[in-house]
């Protein structure tokens, strides 16, 4: 039996029925359909988080100049306080509240009598202490249930204080994972922030979407883009700001890093403002090179192309030696990779350039298009859970809509392999025979570890210690184990060094007591052979 069947076999029939469509083996030449974005089986040790985590924790939280108030009991605010390592720094012109966790700290009485009064007071206090230009309110579970109207409070506060107040109804129980929260956050930014600024458009300007600046990834990416001569209008949302995102509609091109969490904004900005979007990937030198060249092709300026090549050559040369030594250590190793919604795919490329093959992969909360590519979008049926997440429709903005490239030009780019409004998902890079598990759980982690024996396992803090207990090196790809950046060229070298270190550290030779190892001497009693 192949490992997939052995593992699934241990489930009860009900669970087996559910999980068999989420766990597949990639077969060459076949369409490889997977089930994703459906409800988690209760009681299984899922790695998924909730809607609040996706909205406040991932998308809204990193906005540095936004004072985000968690409306709810204390836990949720505390747990999402600085845990993702989305770095941000303020400057003279931008306030940074990243170090703060603001919560209405609801008590029993607030649940009984409603928390609206407390929220209003909390907004007042936040205005008085922080003088923010923008406040965001993120709801946790009880808020939707007791019926606090955070949207009315936001509107009232907006008028009262003359600042922007955003409200996100991202109660934890909505949707099936963090993914619903991303969508809610995207909608809120689209409706209330994007397009409200009046900056003048700048030549060669781009937005970096779905880059959360974990360990400084966004900074490293921006550095490369700036060297080439691009102007980054806004980053959504790592080290991003309300102030910058207001003007994001003035950019020429949207660069989509994390497809899962932010493709909604990319699509809506195309419809409303005519901003083209392109799937890029700045993880791994090869992917970074392709993305930079795709961008140069989009802008079609010889000087920009020349600088692109010059920067690539220089950056690549700087890491060549280091990459080669790491590759010497890592070549031939296998890896498992299991992160949120797009990252699992992004790192496959980088690992390949280090000679590491990914034998086991999956997403926590990806949708089918993140696995199979956007061409399956039309075939995805909407279920009750996805219908519960608001989906908004936007139309052309008569004042701000501007066609960037004509449809013909875009077609030509696509034909040349530039992924304009295209994303072909994880299947593009995963090797045949790899096992893919959607909404992976602890049980499957342990079981697949036993059968596939990867040399290193990339995932998060929750499964990290299970993996290490099994004698396998692990690296967290959610928060990078206090390291980073991993993006771009220099980041790739950081990653390579970290992985090489993880695998070669002497402890792996010691975790097994020597007397438990296979006998060092083998032999037989003299004279036995002759018998």
């Amino acid at each position: 039996m192949d490992p997939r069947d052995i593992v699934l076999d241990k489930y009860s029939s009900k669970v087996y029925k559910n999980r068999k469509e989420h766990v597949i083996t990639i077969n060459e030449g076949e369409p490889n359909v997977i089930q994703a974005d459906t409800r988690t089986v209760p009681g299984i040790m899922t790695n998924r988080g909730c809607c609040y985590a996706g909205c406040k924790g991932v998308v809204i939280g990193p906005l540095k100049d936004v004072a985000t108030i968690t409306h709810g009991p204390i836990g949720c605010g505390f747990y999402s306080w600085g845990t993702r390592r989305n770095k941000a720094k303020g400057d003279e012109n931008t306030k940074a509240f990243g170090e703060y966790c603001l919560s209405t700290d609801m008590q029993e009485t607030d649940i009984v009598f409603g928390g609206e009064k407390k929220l209003k007071q909390a907004i007042k206090e936040a205005v008085e202490i922080f003088h923010p230009e923008c406040i965001a309110i993120a709801s946790t579970c009880p808020v939707g249930l007791i019926g606090d109207d955070i949207h009315a409070i936001a509107a009232e506060a907006e008028e009262l204080y003359g600042i922007k107040v955003l409200a996100f109804s991202c109660e934890g129980y909505k949707g099936v994972s963090q993914s619903g929260g991303h969508h809610i956050a995207n909608n809120g930014l689209m409706k209330n922030v994007i397009g409200t600024g009046d900056a003048e458009p700048i030549k060669y300007s781009v937005n970096l979407l779905g880059e959360y600046n974990i360990g400084g990834d966004g900074w490293e990416t921006e550095r490369i883009l700036k060297r080439i001569g691009y102007h980054v209008v806004s980053v959504m949302t790592g080290d991003g700001s309300y102030d910058a995102i207001k003007n994001s509609h003035t950019a020429d091109l949207n660069l989509v890093q994390c497809h899962r969490s932010i493709n909604y904004i990319a699509e809506m900005m195309k419809t409303k403002y005519g901003v083209d979007w392109m799937k890029i990937n700045f993880i791994g030198p090869e992917a970074t090179k392709k993305s930079l060249r795709d961008m140069a092709r989009y802008f079609n300026d010889p000087e920009l192309s020349r600088r692109t090549e010059a920067v690539i050559a220089e950056e690549e040369a700087a890491i060549a030696e280091g990459m080669a030594s790491c590759k010497a250590v890592l070549a031939g190793k296998t890896a498992a990779i299991y992160v949120g919604g797009s990252r699992s795919h992004h790192y496959i490329n980088l690992l390949k350039s280090l000679g590491v093959e990914v034998v086991l992969a999956g997403y926590e909360f990806g949708h089918r298009d993140d696995y199979e590519g956007r061409e399956v979008l039309d075939t995805i049926k909407k279920d009750a859970d996805s219908k519960n997440i608001e989906s908004i429709t936007v139309t052309k903005d008569p004042d701000h809509y501007k066609e960037r490239l004509s449809e013909q030009e875009l077609m030509a780019l696509r034909a040349a392999g530039v992924p304009m409004e295209e994303y072909s998902g994880m299947w593009e890079d995963i090797m045949d025979g790899a096992i893919i598990t959607d909404d992976y759980n602890h049980f499957e982690t342990e079981e697949f570890l036993k059968y596939l024996k990867p040399d290193i396992f990339f995932s998060g803090i929750k499964d990290k210690f299970v993996i290490q207990r099994s004698g396998v090196a692990s690296r967290q790809l959610h928060s990078y184990d206090y390291a980073g950046p991993y993006a771009g060229f220099k980041g790739a070298l950081n990653f390579a060094n970290d992985v090489a270190m993880a695998i070669t550290v002497p402890v792996w030779d010691m975790v097994q007591a020597p007397w438990k190892k296979e006998p060092l001497l083998e032999g037989s009693l003299g004279g036995m052979e002759s018998c």
């Binding site: 709810g72 845990t83 008590q107 008085e128 939707g144 210690f465 207990r469």
Partner: protein
Amino acid sequence: MSKNLVNLNVNPCKMCMPMGTANAFYGIQKCMSILHGSQGCSTYIRRHMATHYNEPVDIASSSLTEEGTVYGGERNLIIGLENLIKLYDPEVIGVSTTCLAETIGEDVEMIIHHFYESHPDSNVKIIPVKSAGYGGTQFEGFIRALRAIVSHVDMATEKNNKINIITSMISPADTRYLKDLLDAFGLDYILLPDLSENLDGEHQKNYSRLPAHGTPISEIQQMAGARATIELSDTIKPEESPGVYLFENYDVPYLRLNLPIGLRDTDALIDMLSEISKMPIPESIAKQRGRYLDGMIDSHKYNAAGRIAVFGEPDFVVSAVRLCCENGVMPVIAATGSNCPELKAKIEKEIAKLAAILFVDDYVVLNDVDFETIEAEALRLGANIMLGNSDGRRIEEKHQIPLIRCAFPIHDRVGGQRVRTLGYEGSQMLLDQITNTLLKTVEGGFREELYNTYYNEGPKYKYGLEEDPHKKIRILGNETPAQTKSVMSTLSIEEKTANHPCFSCGASHKNARMHLPIAPKCNIQCNYCVRKFDCANESRPGVTTEILSPEAAFEKYKLVREKVPNLTVVGIAGPGDALANFEETKKALTLIHDDDPNVTFCVSTNGLMLPYHVKDLVRLNVSHVTVTVNAVDPEIGARIYKHVDFMGHRYHGIAAASLLLANQLSGIKMLIDEGIIVKINTVTLMGVNDAHIEEVVKAMKEMGCFISNIMPLIPVKGSAFETLTIATNQEINAIRKQCGLHLNQMYHCKQCRADAIGKLDSDVSLDFRSSKEPTVEPTVASPKGLRFAVASKGGMLVDQHFGHATEFYIYDFKNNEAQFLEKRQLNQYCLGVEECEEKEDKFTRILNHLKDCDGVIAMRIGDAPARRLEKKGIQVFSTYDRIEEAVKTAARKMIKSQNLKNVSGGI
């Protein structure tokens, strides 16, 4: 009922109940936890526990979705239980509710009943706990889970010889200690819970996903028949206490003790164990005690320097504070994020006693508090060390107050599961950490200071290897100017001066400057400056939010350069003296010059070390230097400078002033000979040097200085001149006008902070320009003006909560200017929730103090006092700003509304 006085929790010092229940269930053998609610709760809690314990943490979820909120979550919870049993085969399952389940009113007892009905063969013990996130903190959650365990397990009531030991959340390493201790007394005990192995396991070849260790249910069943229960936490509420439950239902004698941290609390436990076991204290334990006592003596001479802030769960705070007190480390803050009103009564006497011994006049015990308040109090009370969980790291980073990571959670270090605090040895480890942290603070800077004082800047002279610098100075003063103008960079000095906002008025509107706060030390003590703020040569006395290392300053410079395109000048203006920190100054300027040779460097100094560093400044391409010269007559200087530290000696009085003056004069001369542009700053001290300033300026003119900047005094709380009359703008301008006859005057000075960035007027409004440009603001109708009471800690910023203020700075707003009148002392209005009953009296007292004021300005103020003030016709303003700005803004608001009233009244 919530007793939170504020509605916004800024940086919580607590977590929610299910965090506590999940921890507690990890101490039960073969037990799994499931949280009934959204799956995010489990994920977040697992994530935080895994980071702290560095162990796998498995907590299941019933994964409720929107559908479940409508139809109830029974189906999900039952499927969840089924799967958990199938995959993990546990003997016990703890079902903790969450905000969601409690809000929709799930009856978990009933659901479990249904589960047993539909699974008659199941022999898994399922224990429900009501643990809404809003019901309490992780501390209450932990205890509540223990109570649920003892009240749900089927008890065997036959008497046995066991002792029940119940603990709050202690580390696995401490739990192991406790077990060894109980074994040492030969006791037969039941420890509830026991997370010693499950959350700090050994490496094994095969990972077992079910926690194999911990207290078995079979043991817990015998708790009802035990000889006694000892609860090692004295802050558990009786209605939540498992020990009280066993006493009330099974008559098990109930005893409670503080967590055994520190000598006395460990003694109490050891004595009790000895009594119960009828066994003398084993020699090994007596030796541990002796060693700790010896250790307490070893470190006694260092501990009194400690001003510690202790925060965390209430029982930890009680015992840790007691450890600090018995070692003479002054707990200026004892704070818990939980709601434990008894905390104060438990420790205050002890703290007060130590405070009296150490002459500390202020400390606080804070209940139900967030880190914002702890931070503010730590700064107010001068805490120099913190003890608590790793969430204090933000205060540590921001204010360089070292944090000893202890208790739960620890997120930014490894080893949370191994932290030891219990018993004599645990106390010793904790005390050593405290003492060593204090020693590091002293010793770290001490050697450098010694080096700088006796080696770097002095020994040659001191040991007669070099000529007496005093003589040298006089000789230098008589030397003919050396014509050694150095070529510095591509920009001429004229261009640089024209672009320097502090030297050219035109440039002040266009060009930006950046002050690098890299120089914390000062070598003189001015009477208008407070040592703890360090010295002020110019600018707001030594105000900076952080001290940067030269490397960090360089990084900041690079960042600022990107964002502020008109940055032409980089200066070092303290917060101490640039030349008293010469190594830092040199390093920072070298880094920046290597990066961009066109930057204009500007250094500000009191001039004491100037003769020794002029050559260095030239080499570092410094083109502009500001020297603060307040007097050219040593007798006047003696009234201004308290002391001068030079070459390892402290000089006082006229000697100090003469020495400083001699060095200033020769230093300035050398600067001018080198072609460096010199600005002279002078602080106007009414009654001290105001009549003498013209003399100063004349003397400086003769030396060849470029511009003179005469500044008003900024009164600093606690300085010798804090009550000195302040020169009005008119008086200042009269002096400037007179002195302008001799030397160019700087009228546009903004008295910047030591870390100021930007154009001179970018963070200050119209004030100093009022003399040149007549104001367009409406002036007050009544000639009397407006009077404000300002809540401020240091007299510079509106940075205090009204309720925390023990003094108010009274400012008058007249002729469009904010003018300091006096400081009024009063007793603090709010000492915490416990004493709110007494508010009435105090508030009336405060009102009497403030009755002549038109407005009160504070960082924050409660609703009730705000209403009462307003009833008395005193307007209330909440802001965080510099006092003068705040007063002006408030006054303008009041005038505006008055004018409006007048207009409408007229119609």
